[in-house]
Symmetry: C2
Subunit: 81 residues, 2 copies
Amino acid sequence: MKARIEIRLKTGILDPQGKAIGGALAGLGHAGLGEVRQGKLIEIDLPGITDKAAAEQEVAAMCRTLLANPVTEDFRVELTD
Amino acid sequence: MKARIEIRLKTGILDPQGKAIGGALAGLGHAGLGEVRQGKLIEIDLPGITDKAAAEQEVAAMCRTLLANPVTEDFRVELTD
């Protein structure tokens, strides 16, 4: 089973990296852009887990304890075989 | 229109950040993990563009000139209204 984890800053949390990207894109001539937000994409191969519920639980635990900052970030997990 | 850009290291390119995450997860007791890869997720609001083909072209140009490293990274763009 493979897990695909998207980690984003919560709505309303300032994203300085996204702002910097937006500024750089404007400097390159991409006018009229709205908000730019940067998040993380983590893909984990779980060869030992075949049960979807078990995988969900394990990956959520990984997010809560290491991958995401629960104060400032939200995470979303997608599992594929 | 909104663009959602996923930037990943090309297959075969060493991902030290992913390896570090895998090592840290193993240290927290998550045994038997396979490969871990980390990528970037960038979301850009494009309020001035309503044409999908124009948006695709503009976002691909952003990726080639700033967001992705064409030597080591692949990008994938998804557009939504």
